[in-house]
């Protein structure tokens, strides 16, 4: 009650505040009822074809329900979709295991490492097929939300280690390695992602020996890895710069070499500092996966766009708006959850041991 009272009081504290409150309330009164009415109250929830929504200017959730499988799997063959489900179940299992409250940090690390290494090894043959009598599924048939998740997971898993190496190299005492890493990072950071994807699609065949086959998805994945590695490198650099020099000197004086100093003393502190930045980068990677639509991969938005142009659903603009609203809900809930988590880490770290020792 106290919070609510303070909220109410803050809205009418001064004459200018009262006026601002009235303006804001007018804006909300103009937007919210319309939105709720359009998307929930007047919306069409039941039906088995586009007939249900025809001539009905409100959200058409029937469209999403009837197209749900396509939005999820894209053109992945219907009979093989159980394989995607298995991979998804494995991923959920891995995440649950990692989040389980295990006392011993050693066991926790082991589980995390096992999940990180085993999941892709299990996922790749399952999704692509061609092994153990599984029907091969070409990557051009991968699509829907599944493709967004594959690209995001791959980019995050590969770009973080590469970015870390680049950041370490950029701060290296060896000038040649420092210049090489800096050039690499700044080169990728100066390019727009679409440009990098165009490069990957148009130029990659020129860069490799004749006869070297690579599909479009593989090129996009390479582009995502390199592009995001440069971004992660900058995130890590911030963390590396925040470690007091005394930490390194102390590690050296204990007789630790470069790699052991980095792994045992520097990195544990860096990871804590850059965790919010890393999660924010993961959020932008998730959002960026939609861009592969431009190079012709059928990810989530591409499936939506194709579904809109289906003659059966050319019944009005409400179909499009419903589709975009649904896509926005999917991305928003995922990214908002992640960014909340990162904000919480940020706050809890403000009182953490590193800040305290750095302040001394």
């Amino acid at each position: 009650m106290g919070k609510l009272a303070a909220f109410a009081r803050s809205c009418v504290a001064t004459p200018s505040n009262i006026m601002l409150s009235i303006l804001t309330l007018l804006l909300l009164a103009w937007l919210l009822p319309e939105l709720v009415k359009w998307s929930l109250i007047d919306a069409v929830w039941t039906g088995s074809s586009s007939k249900a929504c025809e001539g009905h200017d409100a959200a058409c959730w029937v469209f999403i329900r009837l197209r749900f499988d396509q939005l999820l799997y894209g053109p992945y063959p219907t009979l093989e979709r159980w394989r995607v489900d298995v991979v998804a179940a494995l991923a959920v299992l891995a995440v649950t295991l990692m989040l389980m409250p295990v006392r011993r940090t050693g066991a926790r690390k082991l589980i995390g490492l096992a999940a990180l290494c085993l999941l892709p090894i299990a996922a790749a043959p399952l999704l692509a097929g061609g092994f153990f009598g599984l029907k091969p599924v070409r990557t051009t048939d991968w699509g829907g939300i599944m493709l967004n998740i594959v690209i995001a997971a791959w980019s995050i898993a590969t770009a973080i280690p590469l970015g870390l190496l680049l950041a370490l190299g950029r701060r290296s005492e060896m000038p040649a390695i420092g210049y090489a890493c800096t050039t690499f990072i700044e080169l990728w950071r100066s390019l727009p992602l679409i440009g990098v994807l165009f490069l990957a699609v148009v130029m990659f065949p020129l860069f490799v020996p004749p006869g070297f086959e690579s599909d479009r998805l593989a090129r996009a994945l390479i582009a995502f890895t390199l592009f995001n590695a440069a971004i992660f490198a900058e995130v890590f650099r911030g963390g590396l710069q925040a470690i007091p020099h005394g930490q390194r000197e102390a590690a050296r004086s204990l007789g630790l070499g470069y790699w052991r100093m980095t792994a045992l003393v520097v990195l544990p502190q860096v990871v804590r500092i850059v965790m919010p930045g890393m999660i924010n980068t993961c959020v932008s990677i998730i959002k960026e996966t939609t861009v592969v639509l431009i190079i012709g991969l059928v990810e989530f938005l591409a499936v939506l766009q194709i579904a809109f142009s289906d003659p059966e659903w050319l019944i009005g603009d409400q179909i499009r708006t419903t589709g975009y609203l649904f896509a926005a809900l999917v991305f928003w809930s995922l990214c908002f959850a992640l960014s909340r988590y990162s904000a919480r880490l940020d706050r809890s770290m403000a009182h953490g041991p590193i800040q305290a020792s750095a302040a001394q």
């Binding site: 803050s10 727009p192 130029m203 004749p210 766009q305 499009r320 928003w332």
Partner: protein, 409 residues
């Protein structure tokens, strides 16, 4: 106090005695650690060189195999295709270089417009988030969290396919005070028409502005010397308004507006902004504003509360507190990430390939690349253009940043 020698006064003891230290020349590594570092670097450099050599050889082999033309001579060949938005004259006989200039201008104009609106909106929302009115702060926070967590491409599709494209035709346009009209063919804005005598008014404005700048400088100098201003601010404001108005009145108001008007099935007169531009500008501005709002908020919160208390204690008024205490200190924190955000906005403008706004990425790296079949040259030119515009934005922000930096003694 005279400056001490950087290494504590022993400079004259180091060889070569008494001379400034020479730049280190290449020395053979000394000791096993140095040799190891030398070897590691040599191996890494050799690996990079080998990789580049391998790629270069592949490129040459592929170019020979696929019979691809090389060189930049294609730039002078006629392009022969139409572009939906051109800011300078263009005909079917124009060369690929003209196409490049037009596409580059389209990118620059879009980025500039988006930066302009994103900055204004971003500052408003960033300030709203800091409002003591919790309702206003909450709505601003909701805006930021909504926009930042939805992919830009999705927002762009929404504005283009779900808002602008379903708009009615010219006859049922959305009418903004009979001045501007929005319909499915685009945004129709009035354009200025300069009549004879406009030069006089313009000259008056420029001269008065110069006088105003000189007065402001004198005022600043006087304030620095004596501590009190000359109150010339109001005079400057008068200078900027009265003489130009007088000049305009004497020359019979030589500026008029060509307002678009419905003629038949479309509008004539004024300027037409294509719907693709409108969608890009809206999406980029709204998206960029969410990030700029966060930058502004953290910049203002970085000003210690004690500064404001102190300013109040010495009797500054609220307006003076923000002008002399808060804004200069907040700008120091805001400008560097703001510059980064502008460059991000430039890079995001290349998303226009998805809705066919004719920018550099779509027209040059798309159409021109396909027509000429010279991916290497076209991609190098495109990427270098983006890098250079980004660099220009960075340099501009750095110059601005230098002005607001703390002068340390």
């Amino acid at each position: 106090m005279p400056a001490a020698a950087p290494n504590g006064g022993h400079a004259s003891l180091c060889p070569p005695y008494g001379l400034p230290p020479r730049r280190a020349r290449f020395k053979l590594p000394q000791g096993p650690l140095a040799w190891r570092a030398f070897l590691i670097q040599a191996v890494v450099l050799a690996a990079i060189a080998a990789f580049l050599f391998w790629v270069g050889r592949n490129v040459i082999a592929n170019i020979a195999r696929l019979n691809i033309n090389t060189g930049f001579s294609f730039l002078s060949r006629p392009a022969g295709f139409e572009i939906a938005q051109k800011l300078i004259g263009y005909s079917e006989t124009a060369s690929y270089f003209d196409v490049f200039v037009i596409a580059l201008l389209n990118t620059v104009v879009l980025t500039a417009v988006a930066i302009f609106f994103a900055t204004i909106l971003g500052f408003v929302i960033g300030l709203a988030r800091l409002s003591s009115n919790q309702l206003v702060a909450g709505v601003a926070a909701a805006y930021v969290e909504l926009i930042r967590n939805i992919p830009l491409l999705l927002q762009l599709f929404y504005w283009y396919f779900a808002v602008l494209r379903p708009l009615p035709g010219p006859r049922q346009s959305l009418n903004f005070f009979e001045i501007a009209f929005l319909n499915k063919r685009g945004l129709f804005l009035p354009s200025p028409v300069f009549e004879p005598g406009f030069g006089t008014v313009l000259t008056t404005i420029i001269v008065m502005a110069l006088i105003g700048i000189a007065l402001a400088w004198l005022n600043q100098r006087h304030r620095m010397r004596t501590g009190s201003g000359l109150h010339s601010v109001r005079l400057i404001a008068l200078l900027l308004f009265i003489p130009p108005l007088l000049a305009a009145w004497l020359t019979d108001f030589p500026l008029s507006w060509d307002v678009p008007a419905l003629a038949g099935f479309n509008f004539s007169g004024g300027v037409t902004v294509i719907p693709e531009f409108v969608a890009m500008a809206i999406a980029l501005s709204l998206y960029g504003a969410a990030y700029i709002a966060e930058i502004v908020r953290s910049g203002i919160r970085a000003v210690p509360a004690g500064q404001i208390d102190a300013a109040r204690a010495i009797g500054l008024r609220p307006g003076q507190i923000s002008r002399f205490i808060v804004i200069p200190q907040a700008l120091r924190v805001i400008l560097p990430p703001l510059g980064t955000q502008y460059i991000v906005l430039l890079k995001n403008s290349s998303l226009s390939a998805a809705i066919a706004y004719p920018d550099l990425m779509l027209v040059f790296a798309g159409t021109v690349l396909n027509q000429t079949g010279q991916p290497l040259e076209v991609m190098i030119v495109t990427m270098a253009s983006y890098a250079l515009i980004g660099l220009a934005i960075g340099v501009a922000i750095n110059l601005l940043n230098r002005r607001v930096q703390l002068v340390e003694r």
